[in-house]
């Protein structure tokens, strides 16, 4: 049992956890034919069968129940703020499974030449609003209200001491739905992670209908014709949003250090995290000269990296790996699409750079509040 807990704590180390996730993810949600080939070969689509759902749910519930015997795990999971996260894990899994299950079901139906699962043959081509369209919603509304009422009565919000600006709780956590953003704030300057990137998330979501001009497979659950769209969206939603929330809730402890789910929250856990900026890498580590006083000269390398990433990489990709996509989207759509994707990818990149190289900022101009 102890060795099992130790194993879980070890793979909860963010470097291992995220590397494993990134490696596995696109085989489960293949974004192109190559991944799809391996998905079929490894029979990973079997994950969306009813049997798999029961097995995975059983494993998750069993893990939770067995884990609760551990006092450290219990302390984290049963904290009133964190209870929604347990629900979130099960719900996100279930609804991901449900949509993928229906998508594969529809793909199979189309292949067999049968009508879609969503097909509804209304008599006289007419549907009544009540009860046909809102009956389920109405029942759900009542059940959800009742559930929230009972929950809020039986598990009261923890009332803490009066707010005091000179005393921050340790760890000081945002509401659970913001923990992904709080995790992002660890790797970016506040105005990037707090203002620019959240805004780009919203702008990006709004842009989806304009960027995704693929007609086939639109309007019903399907996967076959929309591999890239679904794969990329699922990556952002499951990994960059939900997983960061779960990491922020369960794995972040005192002094914002990482702790395994079965690890004791030791306030004095010592982690050497001396961060340095890219300019210091270049001038002090590699060139062995001091930092130049001139800001432009100091940050020119970081700026060049960013320029290369955002201005040279997109046309390069359009000529090579993303040739087909570029042809389909056209240059305007493609530019917006690729810039949004590249910005989203800076998050995992910066996480790795921090964990592995202790790199803080690629461009760091604190004099003018610009850090990236």
């Amino acid at each position: 049992m102890e060795s099992f807990k130790h194993l879980i704590d070890t793979i909860s180390n963010p470097t291992i956890l995220f590397t494993a996730t990134f490696l596995i993810f696109f085989f489960i949600f293949p974004i192109n034919d190559w991944f799809d080939k391996w998905n079929r070969r490894l029979k990973l689509y079997g994950l969306w069968s009813k049997k798999s759902m029961l097995i995975v749910t059983f494993i998750m519930v069993a893990f939770y129940i067995v884990g609760l015997s551990d006092p450290d795990f219990r302390l984290i999971m049963l904290k009133p703020d964190n209870v929604p996260i347990s629900g979130l894990i099960y719900l996100v899994y279930f609804f991901t499974w449900l949509s993928m299950h229906q998508a594969y079901e529809n793909d199979a139906r189309i292949e067999r030449g049968e009508p879609l699962d969503e097909q509804y043959d209304a008599p006289n081509d007419k549907v009544l609003v009540w009860p046909d369209l809102v009956y389920i919603e109405f029942i759900s509304l009542i059940l959800c209200s009742a559930f929230l009422l009972i929950w809020s009565i039986s598990l009261p919000a923890p009332i803490e001491e009066p707010a005091n600006p000179t005393e921050s709780p340790n760890p000081a956590k945002a509401p659970w739905y913001f923990l992904g953003l709080q995790e992002m704030l660890v790797y970016f300057d506040p105005w990037m992670a707090g203002v620019v990137l959240p805004m780009l998330i919203i702008v990006g979501l709004m842009a989806i209908p304009y960027l995704d001009n693929e007609r086939s497979g639109s309007g019903y659950y399907s996967f076959k014709n929309r591999k890239l769209s679904i794969g990329l969206f699922m990556f952002g939603w499951l990994v960059l949003w939900n997983m960061l929330i779960i990491v922020g809730t369960i794995l972040r402890g005192p002094n914002w250090n990482f702790f395994g789910p079965f690890e004791y929250w030791d306030i004095h856990k010592l982690e050497a995290l001396t961060n340095i900026n890219f300019s210091e890498f270049v001038y002090i580590k590699w060139l062995n000269t001091g930092l130049p006083d001139n800001i432009i000269l100091r940050e020119i390398w970081g700026l060049l990296v960013l320029l290369g990433y955002f201005l040279i990489l997109p046309p390069l990709l359009a000529k090579t790996a993303l040739k087909k996509l570029f042809a389909r989207l056209g240059s305007f759509r493609y530019s917006i699409f690729i810039v949004l994707i590249l910005i989203a990818l800076t998050l995992p990149m910066k996480m790795y750079l921090r964990w592995i190289f202790n790199l803080k900022y690629i461009v760091s101009i604190p004099e003018y509040f610009f850090n990236f």
Binding site: T166, S168, N170, P171, A172, L185, P254, N255, K360, N371
Partner: protein
């Protein structure tokens, strides 16, 4: 429709006086284009005035009559009250500063993290300030070295009064990244 019906009933029975309210309907003048626009203008002005007044009130709300803030300038005892090499926590709760004495002198650090403004904790065993919100870490000097904090903690003006007491002035701050820590008032030599 109702109006017409009533008129008819009034004419059918000439001996009876129409009700008082109904007699008024005849005197209403039709709305002309010109009067419509003048009423519309008045309406818009009234609306703008009410909205303006509302937002003025909201704006006023941002400038409270009383500010429950500690005074910005305070006396912090004598230099000998501070031990060399130690971070003094006694003014943290009241004034939001740490007073630190090293071999060179005494300086005052702000307790506001330069990342998003939480209050870091002084960890004696690790000899660093560590912020509980996003894990920024600062050396005793205030220099940031871990986590996302983009710049060092700020220092405040420190001077000696005539009676030999330390005076800390929080209205004047010194930022390392602007080269202000070399200012003679950023550190009190003793």
């Amino acid at each position: 429709m109702a109006e017409i019906k009533n008129k008819e009933s009034a004419t059918k029975d000439p001996g009876r006086r129409p009700p008082a309210a109904l007699s008024k309907t005849k005197t209403v003048e039709p709305i002309t284009r010109r009067s419509f626009f003048s009423w519309l203008t008045i309406g818009w002005f009234a609306f703008a005035a009410a909205t303006g007044a509302f937002f003025t009130m909201m704006l006023r709300f941002f400038f409270p009559n009383v500010l429950f803030e500690p005074v910005q300038t305070f006396r912090a005892g004598f230099p000998d009250d501070y031990t060399v090499g130690e971070v003094d926590l006694r003014w943290k709760d009241k004034y939001g500063v740490w007073i630190i004495r090293n071999e060179e002198g005494i300086y005052v650090l702000s307790t506001v993290c330069t990342h998003l403004g939480c209050t870091p904790n002084w960890l004696v065993s690790e000899q660093k300030f560590k912020c509980p919100c996003h894990g920024s870490g600062f050396y005793k000097s205030g220099i940031n070295f871990e986590g996302p904090a983009p710049r060092p903690l700020e220092r405040f003006k420190i001077t000696l009064a005539d009676d030999g007491q330390i005076i800390v002035d929080k209205t004047i701050k010194f930022q390392q990244e602007k080269g202000q820590w070399n200012d003679p008032e950023a550190i009190l030599s003793v």
